[in-house]
């Protein structure tokens, strides 16, 4: 065996092992400016690779405008737009800050965030709270109703969750999230676009602690109802957990495993462990999906969101065979869901030790996307996703399935060859 082959093999094995053995635990809540490293005033973070204001797509622009209004830095959308275009308000990728956000992924300094700690490897990852579906900030909507909901989340939901996690922490390290994902995969979730079981499991875990807090009963009930009514309540915690898992696999020399896949509606981008924080980008594809009444593919923006961190960590769309009911949300057939998972085994390094799929005889989920395998097979990662309207201010118009462009992996492998082969 050649020396370089041994190095790559050793590095990939280590990366995937670290990813699978990661132990993400929800440990705290706080405001983004207090929790997220490098977060500053007049700064926003967003999903996907870097993008300029001029190149940003509608839903990304909408969410950034909404966040500026939410912070009170501007009193009207036009003013917010000027601040963003002039650079007065800066915006950069969440991944530079060990954070992730679904769809536009926009997080502003005074938004509350979850803090997830990897007990095994010591990394921390962050994500915001989930607003629900439809007309929401993460899909580019910023009407009064959207901003009012965000305010309510900061004023009511956040204190409830903060007090709850403090109660949990008075008894144990925090709330381990990997067991919840493992369990939910066996209850029909894929933990990207289907989080029903995860959310119920989460509520079952936290409710006793919620009840022990000194929070006003009315607020507790409101918060509980909001979370119970939103099947995506746990998406953001799942994503922060996935970010913690993939952080454990990042920056390993010679490693060809993908550690970030993310989209900003203009571009889609990846990181590869052995190549550090270097983005490889290609135009964001438009998902094929199921449309909300009155909308179609012509209304759709390019794909966006950091939520593909779930597939990067070995669940989400890669575990679609565990979640046959998901096809009612993202389209396609049950057979397609099964075939999608089966195909992903061809481009991944291992089967997950802890995440298993009952329908496939409890095989582990496909884990550790290897850019070499993508090039050899011609199979690209396929994920499920929400679909935003191409114009700012509208919101979600559907959900579907999307594949990452081959160019990303070709460019990454060329860079890998330049770094290690010349």
């Amino acid at each position: 065996m050649s020396a370089i082959k041994e190095e790559v093999e050793k590095a990939n094995k280590e990366a995937v092992e670290r990813m699978m053995e990661s132990e993400p635990i929800w440990i705290d809540m706080g405001l983004a400016k207090d929790k997220i490293p490098g977060m500053k005033d007049y700064m926003l973070i967003h999903a996907g690779p870097p993008v300029t204001w001029e190149r940003a797509a509608g839903p990304m622009k909408g969410a950034l405008i909404g966040a500026v209004l939410y912070e009170g830095w501007a009193s009207a959308p036009e003013e917010a737009e000027k601040m963003l275009a002039s650079g007065e308000v800066k915006f950069e990728p969440t991944h530079y800050h060990n954070a992730v956000g679904p769809m536009s992924g926009v997080i502003s300094p005074s938004m509350p965030v979850y803090e997830v700690y990897d007990k095994k490897w010591g990394n921390k990852a962050y994500s915001n709270m989930n607003e629900g579906i439809g007309k929401v900030l993460r899909y580019g909507a910023y009407s009064k109703e959207v901003l009012d909901r965000l305010k309510w989340m900061a004023e009511v939901l956040y204190p409830v969750l903060k007090a709850t996690i403090d109660e949990i922490r008075s008894e144990k390290d925090g709330l381990p999230f990997k067991p919840l994902i493992a369990q939910a995969l066996q209850m029909g979730d894929d933990c990207h676009n289907r989080y029903y079981a995860t959310t119920y499991l989460f509520l079952k875990e936290i409710t006793p602690y919620m009840l022990r807090t000194n929070i006003d009963k009315k607020d507790l009930i409101e918060a509980y109802k909001f979370m119970a009514a939103n099947p995506f309540t746990t998406l953001n915690l799942g994503m922060a957990s996935a970010k913690a898992m993939t952080l454990a696999a990042h920056n390993i020399e010679y490693c060809t495993i993908v550690t970030v896949m993310a989209r900003n509606a203009t571009d889609t981008g990846i990181w590869v462990s052995g190549l550090g924080d270097r983005w490889f980008t290609a135009p964001a594809p438009i998902p094929k999906g199921v449309w909300f009444p009155g909308y179609s593919e012509k209304d759709a923006s390019g794909d966006l969101g950091d939520s593909s961190i779930t597939e990067t960590a070995g669940f989400g769309g890669f575990a679609m065979a565990a979640a046959p009911a998901i096809v009612s949300w993202v389209g396609g057939s049950v057979q397609l869901a099964i075939e999608t998972t089966q195909k992903m085994y061809e481009i991944t390094y291992a089967k997950h030790k802890y995440f298993q799929i009952p329908y496939l005889n409890f095989q582990g989920t496909p884990t550790g996307i290897d850019i070499r395998k993508i090039l050899k097979t011609g199979i690209v990662p396929t994920i499920n996703t929400g679909i935003a309207h191409k114009d700012p201010g509208v919101g979600q118009i559907g959900a579907g399935i999307v594949s990452f462009p081959m160019k990303l992996f070709k460019d990454a492998f060329k860079a890998f060859a330049e770094k290690y082969g010349l």
Partner: protein, 298 residues
């Protein structure tokens, strides 16, 4: 059952229209492709997308396996604009012709670093098949070929490529529908012969008899026509990319997907031939920089 054809390769069209008997037989049936012998010449009918001189590409990308609906050694008739195979008709009425442009090389401008980068990429992709399929660069026949043909040629002994023995040892080497040795030689000879026109050295062509006494009919026919530049789109793209400073590794990454190791082996053939020729005409040392990723003792 009627299949509509979308493209027909220039050679396939020539073999059909110039045939006197207008008849042939099915030879090999695969799930999405079947091979036909038409007056002694090969024609490949396929659902796959890649166009090639010998191909008839059907418009329908998916369907029932040909192995269930076509038997080997079945009589085929070409009449009007249709091919009749038992109860099956291939409709050629609105077919587009895939013209054979030949491998149009005017120079090899590819940079040394681009070739070394491509060799690294290729060797890392070979890592994925090792243990499951024959890795040609680990064989003694390949080492023999490098020692007796490639190295002397790179050092200026041009006539050495005319020695048929090292080619014979490679033909038929490996398992699968197109053995690894045949694929490697397809890429090697296509590049060598396309470049010979530019640099004025003598090319080399294996005879049909020599090929068919060493390997299977279908694989041998593909090798035979490849050496004359009759290659599919993917191979054409990688050979043509040698004209540009960069772009070779991109073309290689598109080609490597073919078959279990076919794409890898054809790419290796193109890479070895182009490095050998560049050592002869331009710079010394590129060949060893490329080969060291495959054979450290070279």
């Amino acid at each position: 059952m009627i299949f509509k054809a979308k493209y027909i390769g220039c050679l396939a069209k020539k073999f059909l229209t110039r045939s006197l008997k207008k008849a042939g037989r099915t030879r090999i049936i695969l799930p999405n492709t079947f091979y036909v012998e038409f007056d002694g010449n090969p024609i490949i009918v396929t659902r796959k997308r890649g166009r090639a001189p010998l191909n008839i590409n059907l418009s329908q990308a998916q369907g029932e396996s040909f192995q269930r609906i076509i038997q080997p050694d079945l009589r085929i008739l070409f009449k009007g604009d249709t091919l009749k195979i038992g109860n099956i008709i291939v409709d050629l009425r609105h077919v587009e012709i895939y013209e054979c442009m030949g491998l149009d090389l005017d120079s090899l401008r590819v940079s040394d670093d681009e070739l070394v980068k491509a060799s690294f990429i290729l060797s890392r992709l070979y890592d994925l098949v090792e243990g499951r399929f024959l890795v040609i660069y680990r064989t003694s026949q390949f080492h023999d070929f490098l020692t007796n043909i490639v190295k002397p040629f790179a050092n200026g002994v041009e006539d050495v490529v005319q020695n048929p023995e090292p080619y014979r040892k490679l033909m038929g080497l490996g398992q699968g529908f197109t053995p690894a040795g045949d694929d490697f030689l397809s890429g090697f000879l296509a590049t060598l012969n396309a470049s010979s026109k530019i640099y004025g050295f003598k090319g080399f062509f294996l005879s049909k008899d020599d090929i068919l006494s060493s390997t299977s009919w279908a694989s041998g026919m593909l090798l035979y026509y490849s050496q004359y530049g009759y290659v599919g789109e993917g191979v054409s793209k990688i050979v043509q990319s040698l004209r540009d400073k960069v772009g070779f590794s991109d073309a290689l990454m598109d080609l490597v997907r073919i078959g279990h190791t076919s794409g890898l082996d054809i790419s290796l053939g193109v890479l070895v031939a182009s490095s050998m020729i560049l050592d002869l005409v331009r710079s010394k040392g590129i060949l060893s920089r490329v080969i060291r990723h495959f054979w450290t003792n070279f």
